[in-house]
Symmetry: C2
Subunit: 219 residues, 2 copies
DNA sequence: TTCCGTTTTTACCATATGTTAAGTGGAAGC
DNA sequence: GCTTCCACTTAACATATGGTAAAAACGGAA
C-alpha cells in the first residue's frame, strides 16, 4: 500500500540542498496540477493563477495520517494531488466507518462544518500516502474576492461532487456484499489497489473478514 | 395513508363555483407557502413575490402518482406544499428502491438530470397524496433573470439538501435493520406515519416482511 | 353491502454475514 | 537479526435477514 510521495522522498534523500530543490519542484508540480484542473473548466489569467498558487500550502501525509479530526470545526479545504483520502467516523462501538474516498484532482473538506462553522463528526485521513494542497477558509474567502467567479466555480464543482457521492452510494442500495464490492471495483478501480482492505470493508459496510471471504470466492 | 389534498377536495365538492373558489384559494395558500419559505432566507419585494408566484403551476397527485418518470430528462423543479414525495428506481429484478423522501417545504428534482439535461435513472412519485408547485427549467431560468440572487439562494438550498441527504444516509452505515428503522423514526418521524410500509422498507434496504417483523418486535 | 386486489402480517426454512478465535505474513522498531 | 505489531486470511459457529408461501387486514369499486 505504498506510493511515492513527498514524505517518502524526504526520508530517502541525504543532501539538504537536493532535498530543498526536490521539494520546491514537487510543490510547483502540485500547484500546476491544481491550475490544470481548474483550467479544465475555464480560463485563468497568469495573475489569477499566481494568486491561486500562492494561497495554497503543500502538505504530505503517511497512510493513516490525519488531515482533520472530528469534533472540531473544519476550517480547511484540501486538494488531493497524489494519493487517496477517506472521510470517516468512529461509531459508539469504536468501529471505524468510511463514508467516502477521495483521490487525485478532488477537493476535500467537511462541507457542512466548513460552511456553517459548526463541529464536524467526520474526520479526514490519508487512506494511503498522500500529498495535498491546503487552504484555510479565511484565505479562500480572500481569494474569492481577488479571483472573480472562482467561488461559483468551486460551488459548482462541489455540487457535482455531492451528486456523485449520492449516486455512488445509491447504487449500493439493496445490493448484497459481493455485489457492492464488484460495484466498488467498477466505479473506483484505482482506489481498490491503493488502500487497505479494512478501509474498503468499512466503506462497504462489512467486516474485513467478510471482504476477505468475498475476494477469495471471486478469484 | 390519506391526507387532505386538492384532488380529494375536487372529488368531494359538488358546486362548480365553490370548487373553483376552493381551488384558487388553495393555490394562493400553496404559493404563499413557497414565498414564506423563501422569505426565511431573505427579503423579496412584492413584485418579486408576484413574479415567483406566477412562474409556478399547482399540481395534485394521489398516492403512487408519478411526477417524473425515469429514462427521461427531468426538466421540472417541484416544491412540496403538502404530502410526501419519494425518489425511486426500479432495479433489474423489478424491485423498487426508494432513494429518498421529500416533504413539505422541500424542493425536489433529479438535479443531475435537470442541470446537465441528461436522462435520469430515478423517478419521482407521490408517497402519499401530495400537492406541489411545479416550474419548468426554462421558466426557472427566466425567473432567475428577473429576480436577482434567486439562483444563488436556490443553489445554496439545494446544496444543504444534498448535505442532509448524505448525512442521513451515512447515519445508516454499519447499522443493522432494526437500528436503521429506529434512526429513520428519529430523523423523519412525520414520514413514518404517512407513507406505506413497503416504501419505508425499500428505503431502508429491507423487505416489507422484515420491516413488519421489526415493528412487531419493537412494540 | 360484497367482491377483489393490494398491503401487511405471520411462519418456516435457507443462507449470507457477523462473531470469535487462531494462524500467517510482512513491515517497523530495537 | 530478532521481536513485535498489525493487517490479512481462514475456519467454525451463531444469528439476522431474505425467500417463499399463505393468511389476515385494508381499501376501493361495483
Amino acid at each position: 500500500m505504498s506510493s511515492t510521495n513527498v514524505q517518502n522522498l524526504i526520508e530517502v534523500s541525504t543532501s539538504k540542498d537536493l532535498l530543498i530543490e526536490i521539494i520546491s519542484s514537487i510543490f510547483v508540480s502540485m500547484t500546476n496540477r491544481l491550475i490544470a484542473f481548474l483550467q479544465q473548466y475555464r480560463f485563468f489569467s497568469a495573475d489569477e493563477q499566481q494568486l491561486i498558487k500562492d494561497s495554497f500550502e503543500p502538505r504530505s501525509y503517511k497512510e493513516g495520517g490525519q488531515l482533520f479530526k472530528g469534533g472540531n470545526i473544519c476550517r480547511e479545504l484540501f486538494f488531493v494531488c497524489n494519493g487517496v483520502l477517506r472521510i470517516m467516523v468512529t461509531n459508539q462501538k469504536g468501529a471505524e466507518l468510511t463514508h467516502f474516498f477521495l483521490k487525485e484532482d478532488m477537493f476535500c473538506t467537511i462541507l457542512h462544518s466548513f460552511n456553517n462553522e459548526v463541529p464536524a463528526t467526520e474526520s479526514i485521513q490519508a487512506a494511503c500516502d498522500a500529498d495535498v494542497l491546503a487552504i484555510s477558509k479565511s484565505k479562500l474567502l480572500a481569494l474569492y474576492k481577488q479571483v472573480p467567479g472562482l467561488k461559483e466555480l468551486l460551488d459548482q464543482i462541489m455540487q457535482n461532487r455531492l451528486l456523485d457521492k449520492i449516486q455512488i452510494r445509491n447504487a449500493y442500495l439493496g445490493a448484497d456484499s459481493e455485489t457492492r464490492y464488484k460495484l466498488f471495483m467498477q466505479q473506483q478501480p484505482d482506489i481498490v489497489l491503493r488502500v487497505p482492505l479494512k478501509d474498503i470493508a468499512s466503506y462497504l459496510g462489512i467486516t474485513p473478514q467478510s471482504l476477505s471471504r468475498i475476494r477469495k470466492s471471486i478469484k
